[in-house]
């Protein structure tokens, strides 16, 4: 197999790429701010004792799911092209994970 597979054009527009990377980074920072925000809400929802657990538990789980989506799609670049195979295996893993947890929360103590 040939190792060298540069984009074909050795004079790729560097400035363009830099700009695109910088833009990307800006999205990353925004998602980080949102993640911190979500974390704060989660801690607050638990610390605030007027919420019943029936509200706060599903609520913080939802926040966790959203935050993880940020991690996966922005920090780990799953929103970029070329992540089809990773998505298949990650979601297959999530599927098995979900089945396992569901089973352990229901039929283990029946």
């Amino acid at each position: 197999m040939e190792q060298h597979t540069n984009s074909g054009n050795p004079n790729v527009d560097l400035a363009y790429r830099r700009k695109k990377n910088a833009e990307d980074m800006k999205h990353q920072v925004i998602s980080f701010v949102l993640m911190i925000f979500l974390t704060l809400i989660a801690f607050f929802a638990v610390g605030y004792d007027k919420f019943s657990p029936w509200f706060s538990v599903p609520f913080i789980l939802l926040l966790a799911a959203v935050q993880v989506a940020f991690q996966l799609y922005y920090f780990m670049h799953m929103s970029h092209k070329g992540h089809e195979v990773p998505s298949v295996f990650l979601y297959a893993g999530v599927f098995v994970a979900f089945l396992t947890i569901w089973a352990f929360m229901t039929i283990v103590w029946w």
């Binding site: 197999m1 190792q3 195979v85 295996f89 297959a92 893993g93 599927f95 098995v96 089945l99 396992t100 089973a103 352990f104 229901t106 039929i107 283990v108 103590w109 029946w110």
Partner: protein, 622 residues
Amino acid sequence: MSTLARKKGVGAVIWDYLTTVDHKKIAILYLIAGGIFFLAGGVEALLIRIQLAVPNNDFVVGGLYNQILTMHGTTMIFLAAMPLVFAMMNAVVPIQIGARDVAFPFLNALGFWLFFFGGVFLNCSWFLGGAPDAGWTSYASLSLESPGHGIDFYVLGLQISGFGTLIGGINFLVTIVTMRAPGMTYMRMPLFTWTTFVASALILFAFPPLTVGLILMMMDRLFGGNFFDPAAGGNTIIWEHLFWIFGHPEVYILVLPAFGIFSEIFATFSKKRLFGYSSMVFATVLIGFLGFMVWAHHMFTAGLGPVANAIFAVATMAIAVPTGIKIFNWLFTMWGGNIRFTTPMLYAVAFIPSFVMGGVTGVMNAAAAADYQYHDSYFVVAHFHYVIVGGVVFGLLAGAHYWWPKMFGKMLSEKLGKVTFWLFFIGFHLTFFIQHFLGLMGMPRRVFTYLPGQGWETGNLISTIGAFFMATATVVLLINIVVTTVKGKKADADAWGDGRTLEWAVASPPPEYNFAQTPLVRGLDAYWIEKMEGRKGLTPAEPLGDIHMPNPSILPFIISLGLFIAAFGFMYHKQHSWSLFVGIAGLLITLGSMFLRSVIDDHGFHIHKEEILEAENKGVKA
């Protein structure tokens, strides 16, 4: 530095195999190691059958019987069937997709050595105070109470070999995703490659629950954990769930590659393309998917309640549908074909009724209400031996005969091969058919003897006789291998004359770079297409040039050895305090070798164009 066609001494050959990262040599290692464990498991099976041949026998009694029984199951599944499947995958899959090697040659070797040391560790138990004795499922309520270190050998040995399997699975997934030759689209992959792909995905998701289960068991037994101890709030059912979340997909991990082997064989020896290729792929993926939703059918009698039992019963029965699709496709492949009954084809044809019987009893077991009758009886023993022997072992024997010339360059004797087949086939049905009825008559599994006068004597005697038929078949196979090795006929590239897939286009055995030029794949059954158009070789996709190869390395061996040492250290830490340091030293060996692997650059080497030309002209390609 020519690495081609060197003459070597014995020491050099051993060193070569200790350090090899070549998938073809790793396949041979898997075949030898898996074969030896298969013999060990077979001897254990014979001991079981001798003990049960007559009522009130005292040949192997009580605790020793439990150990033999446990080791028979554990060895056959983890140390024989799994590595033999990996032997086939390693020997064939990279060549079938037109690749020069697997994606991670180093990890491939590491996977083998981890499996090997795990298996050796497990079998060390025989000499160090007794083997595990809680059944291959090692249910926590039994295994926590088991005295001695038998269960610790089970837990740590399977943990090590399980890591090896996981690594092997990831390696094949990536190989199939990234290393396919130009034109080899997913829907042009041979069925064996497809089944390898799906089985590897199952490994990826099924082995982590086993890993966790084994960690919890290790914590409970060696480090004071309370996962399965009801007195401290634990729950023994957790082990059962984790084990079967792994254990049921494991059945498909074994049987799907066997399905792939049969698909290749049916097409080759019917001289027809596989009937319903797309539906075969679909059925394979569907079986893999459904395989994760049925594990609790092993636990119907554990008291999960009617709702859970009903859900898992229906999901289990659903698996019969894709399996049925496959059976019909194989039959239609043969229909109207130009059939040659070679040894592999005999296994393939015999597989269909044998496996269907296992499937039918499977659906019977899946009916949760009826399962209360079958549970823990010989009916279940008969069922899973029909599936595992009638499916997996037939598949492995068929594959071994089919690809033997490709792996070793010599044809196995067809005459002896057919003797093996008939002995094994008859012996298999003698042994296990009658066990259905023994089970229905109430004979419990895993009990070391029975009383006379219950009508079980004849059945058990027949079963034992059958086991000796299978043992004789195995001996004939070994003789066949020895005879072939000494004076076998040299195999052509297209050893059976009717090869359809890429592995038959390269020399037998293939050169270490597989393909002098990466082939261009122009359709399903790529080699057949070329032959039908009157070409001798494959259409190349690249000019002849230097070929990049990975370097051999001893590190996989040392990494695995470190874990082997560590396992001994941690196992004895309660008796001897210094033993803990042995454990830590073992881990340091492993981590240190991983560190070396990380910091020492490994760019591989190149085989130069001139050497390739020379090798190709010397007649490897003929």
